[in-house]
Subunit: 177 residues, 2 copies
DNA sequence: GCTGGATAGTCGTTTGAACGACTATTGTTC
DNA sequence: GAACAATAGTCGTTCAAACGACTATCCAGC
């Protein structure tokens, strides 16, 4: 068959449809680039970032426990399937589950000593990760970035779960009108 | 067995390990929240956001073509497997592939009329999506957010691919030292 | 013109996410 | 107290991402 397509790439002028779209795509790309470093750290320890977050949450309430859904509500990103996420942690002996006697529908999850050990072992790497990712920005810039990100997602937060999340803006005063 | 765990959730004081970590987690959560809207729009059209981006890129060079890897380099987020992403678009008849005659290793991809139609059909939804996601922020804030996101990922961009990406900061002047 | 290395893309397999249907338990209403 | 809805969690299935091994082609050097 004859080749009708040119074999040369030509320059593009993409431009975004709108400022809002550009902001979202920048957000997406930035997240993706930073996440790359992230994954590298965690997969060296046989764990995912999401699983680490669950452990971090459970460690913060230790020696108490949280219901399955309470853990889910506190995770950074929504996770459809808490059951299987916790299954994997339980298989590794990092968390333990126990059905609540007062309300047998709920299952309480707590971190084990082995789980605490994993989080502690990761602590230094996680600290370094933060520096690697964003250490080149000064504190004022970081605060400003955080503030804008919070404002960006504010209308999209579920009021029911926002209270459970550490970074929620509630109670904070807006800097500008 | 005796129930040794309390069946009550107790309040947490999570706090982030560092400002850098907080910024990254805020970025993650914000991306996740905004992405939720995103997915809703595209899955109504039987396509993923990543696939839409590939189509958008190919439409911008129409009627020219791009090599498989050139499309990958211009995508918002790194995609490990261009082959299968394009496979799916080709199955739906939205793109067509042709092996380059001059260099038979490369495969050129171009968008079909059906592909253009899909992008056009989505245009209104995508426009509305932007407003839904970030329409509550004024233009100054959006620009500032974009600028900070670019600075956040600047050190993590591969110099080889950054040139291919529309939002690259190259050529822009830094506002602050 | 043959060999080794680089490049472009493809494919097999494993793993995790997404969506929805399903079970068990509790609370509500008449 | 039986029926129905709501809640908490589990599980089956389907789909996409991740990782690496593999093929085909080209280029460079001898």
């Amino acid at each position: 068959m004859a080749t009708s397509q040119p074999c040369r790439t030509r320059p593009v002028s993409p431009a975004f449809d709108s400022l809002e779209q550009e902001a979202y795509l920048q957000l997406w790309r930035t997240y993706d680039r930073l996440r790359e470093l992230d994954e590298r750290v965690f997969q060296g320890h046989g764990i995912t970032a999401q699983q680490y977050n669950a452990l971090r949450i459970l460690k913060s309430v230790r020696p108490g426990a949280l219901s399955t859904s309470a853990v889910g509500a506190r995770l950074i990103s929504r996770a459809a399937d808490m059951t299987r996420l916790l299954d994997k942690l339980e298989e590794q002996g990092l968390v333990s589950r126990k059905r609540c006697e007062e309300n047998r529908r709920v299952v309480y999850v707590s971190i084990t000593a082995a789980g605490v050990a994993v989080v502690n072992r990761l602590a230094a790497d996680v600290k370094r990760l933060g520096k690697d990712q964003l250490g080149h920005l000064d504190r004022r810039t970081l605060r400003s970035l955080i503030d804008m990100l919070e404002r960006a997602r504010e209308p999209h937060e579920d009021p029911a779960t926002v209270a459970a999340w550490p970074g929620s803006r509630q109670g904070k005063r807006r800097v500008e009108a």
